[in-house]
């Protein structure tokens, strides 16, 4: 039972992180490999502010979200927009966005590494202290509960927004056929900026919540999550909201089961082996639509 709680909290962290990557990838075709760096650096900013003055939870979260959104917007304007403007075709654009994101990600990483010498940093200066609730045999921390609630609510809100709102419809239209969408009068640039800001905000949010619940992260923590989030999204099927949630909780469950049922050392082989198998059975992810794009 405690294992189930652990799976749900770990899965929610993966979901929060992957959700931000998923919305840009599924709609405006931007697979942002700078996401992990945004995640880390927004938390790092909150840590720097906390070194000056102690703040409760909400302002810390707010700092994380705002820094994340700002960084994401900046990357979009100075890097991805420029790439898309110059790229000759979709395939090269995809590759360049991948590498551009990786290149941009090095910059905040280098700054944080330089400041911390890669020592762990945390948010312990915050006046918010994590509490633990005990219900029968089960223990859950306040921050874990908050992470689960936020992840699920945000996920549901995003899904509904994409499905119901005019913006969401426009975004999905871009995801299917960008040119036709433009002909229909959709302002692609503005929508892309909104999406990137939302994505960055989610990265910042997940960074702050993750760090509260772990106590500390290092400048390199974002990179580890990046590969896992990439796996979650692919597993569920790019562009599918149901898919990313499935991917996140599936990966968390697979990891937890292997870690607790064996001596632990084969965790990654088993979880990535499972992903491999799932892809063999469902070549476009579990909830993936048939590829509309030509590959």
């Amino acid at each position: 039972m405690q294992d189930l709680v652990n799976v749900v909290t770990l899965g929610s962290i993966y979901l929060l992180f992957a959700l931000g990557m998923s919305i840009t990838w599924g709609t405006i075709d931007i697979l942002n490999f700078g996401h992990g760096s945004i995640f880390m650096f927004s938390t790092f900013s909150a840590y720097l502010v906390l070194a000056e003055t102690s703040l409760p939870l909400l302002p810390v979260v707010l700092i994380g979200v705002l820094v994340g959104a700002a960084m994401s917007l900046l990357i979009q304007v100075v890097a991805f927009e420029q790439i898309l403007k110059r790229a000759k075709d979709k395939r090269t654009a995809e590759m360049q966005i991948l590498i551009g994101g990786i290149g941009v990600a090095i910059i905040p990483l280098a700054i944080a590494q330089h400041q911390t010498k890669s020592n762990p940093f945390g948010l312990s200066e915050s006046s918010y202290q994590v509490g633990t609730w005990v219900i029968g045999d089960i223990r859950i921390t306040s921050i874990a509960a908050l992470t689960v609630v936020v992840a699920v609510l945000l996920w549901a809100a995003t899904a509904i927004w994409l499905k119901r709102s005019r913006h969401g419809l426009a975004l999905r239209a871009i995801g299917v056929d960008a040119e036709t969408a433009a002909l229909m009068g959709i302002d692609r640039r503005r929508l892309a900026l909104v999406t990137m800001a939302a994505s960055g905000g989610m990265a910042g949010l997940s960074g702050v919540l993750f760090t509260y619940s772990l106590g500390a992260i290092t400048p390199e923590s974002g990179d580890t999550l990046l590969v896992k989030a990439f796996a979650c999204i692919i597993l569920g099927g790019v562009g599918s909201m149901l898919g990313v949630a499935f991917g996140a909780y599936f990966l968390a469950a697979a990891e937890t089961v292997v870690l607790t049922q064996t001596s632990g050392s084969w965790v990654e082989a088993v979880s990535f082996g499972l992903i491999f198998l799932v892809l063999l059975l469902r070549p476009a992810g579990v909830f993936g639509r048939k590829e509309v794009r030509r590959t």
């Binding site: 590498i99 290149g103 090095i106 491999f276 070549p283 590959t295």
Partner: protein
């Protein structure tokens, strides 16, 4: 010269193995197969040849040959399993393959040296042999970028349906991509472990994929020359940047980002454009300013004719005509 060679021997060797690794990722990409399995093959090649030398006492070159063969066969098996996958789904499956190789390395106990890895792989394999092998495979890859072979590969990548209708066995080409990628990756890993004498689990992680991709994208993804440019730059750039001191990582990131953003076809593309531009100026002078008709479709679809200078004038014209036709249809 000798002093330079001695001082920078490790970098020279790293350039060679980096180049072969970059080709292991580039060759499948050029065939439209988004596979990163080359990085896993690198791990197989490095570990297997190290084990053969340490446990079986095999000479270095023989161990490398065996490792290349095994990596190619594993590449084929992997290809048979996943060649139906497409795009980034294929990429993810191959990333999973690479990560699984790493986990095997860390869990291999005494055979793979667990988290320490293997060390003390001392053989008679020389940098000269390494250079010769690298030149050989680069030559073979270059051959595949010429003439009929090149057009077939381009067709398989850009329009598999069309290629199939022209009687090209697309499936076979894609499988060949996996095999070649496996062999090249195995070779890069095998050669590197022979000259470096050590290999550990941290050496074969996700970073290999990123490094190879960076080399290809910044160097130029459609020609072996791009891989050469990328391998040289990303092996030596950090060394050059060292004069900056503590902020060199940051500058490195800026350079990668700027290159990815502003050079859509990599540095090789810039060189091609420059030579073309110079050629055009010369031609203009000769013909008194009249534009050659061949140039017109080029500016519409430069992607397909970027390797113009490796073809004869007529072939270039033919490709350009094909491009122009496909624009119309």
């Amino acid at each position: 010269m000798i002093a330079f060679y001695d001082t920078n021997l490790v970098l020279i060797q790293a350039t060679l193995s980096g180049l072969v690794l970059a080709l292991a990722i580039q060759v499948p990409l050029r065939m439209g197969v988004f596979s990163f399995a080359g990085a896993g093959s690198y791990g197989i090649g490095a570990y297997l040849s190290a084990i053969l030398v340490l446990r079986q006492g095999m000479p270095g070159p023989v161990a490398i040959a065996v490792a290349v063969l095994v990596a190619a066969v594993i590449g084929l098996l992997l290809g048979l399993l996943i060649f139906k996958l497409n795009g980034l789904y294929l990429a993810m499956a191959t990333v999973a393959f690479d990560l699984i190789i790493s986990v095997i390395a860390i869990n291999g106990g005494d055979l793979t040296g667990a988290s320490t890895g293997l060390y003390g792989v001392l053989t008679d394999f020389t940098t000269g042999q390494m250079f010769a092998l690298t030149v050989l495979v680069v030559g073979l890859v270059a051959l595949s970028e010429r003439g009929r072979m090149r057009r077939r590969v381009d067709a398989v990548r850009d329009d598999p349906e069309l290629a199939a209708s022209l009687g090209i066995n697309v499936r076979r080409y894609r499988l060949v991509a996996f095999v070649v990628s496996g062999a090249l990756g195995g070779l890069a890993g095998g050669m590197n472990v022979m000259v470096r004498t050590a290999i550990g689990p941290l050496d074969i992680g996700f970073g290999l994929i990123v490094l190879a991709l960076t080399m290809i994208v910044v160097g130029g993804s459609r020609s072996w020359k791009g891989a050469v440019i990328g391998a040289v730059i990303f092996t030596w750039l950090p060394d050059v940047l060292a004069v900056i001191g503590e902020w060199q990582e940051l500058v490195y990131g800026v350079i990668v980002a700027v290159a990815a953003v502003f050079l859509p076809r990599g540095l090789y593309g810039v060189i091609v454009d420059l030579t073309k531009w110079l050629g055009r100026i010369r031609r203009k002078r000769r013909t008194g300013g009249a534009e050659q008709p061949v140039d017109a479709p080029e500016s519409v679809e430069p992607e397909r004719v970027e390797l113009d200078n490796t073809l004869s004038r007529e072939q270039g014209g033919e490709v350009a005509r094909m491009a122009a036709q496909s624009e119309v249809s």
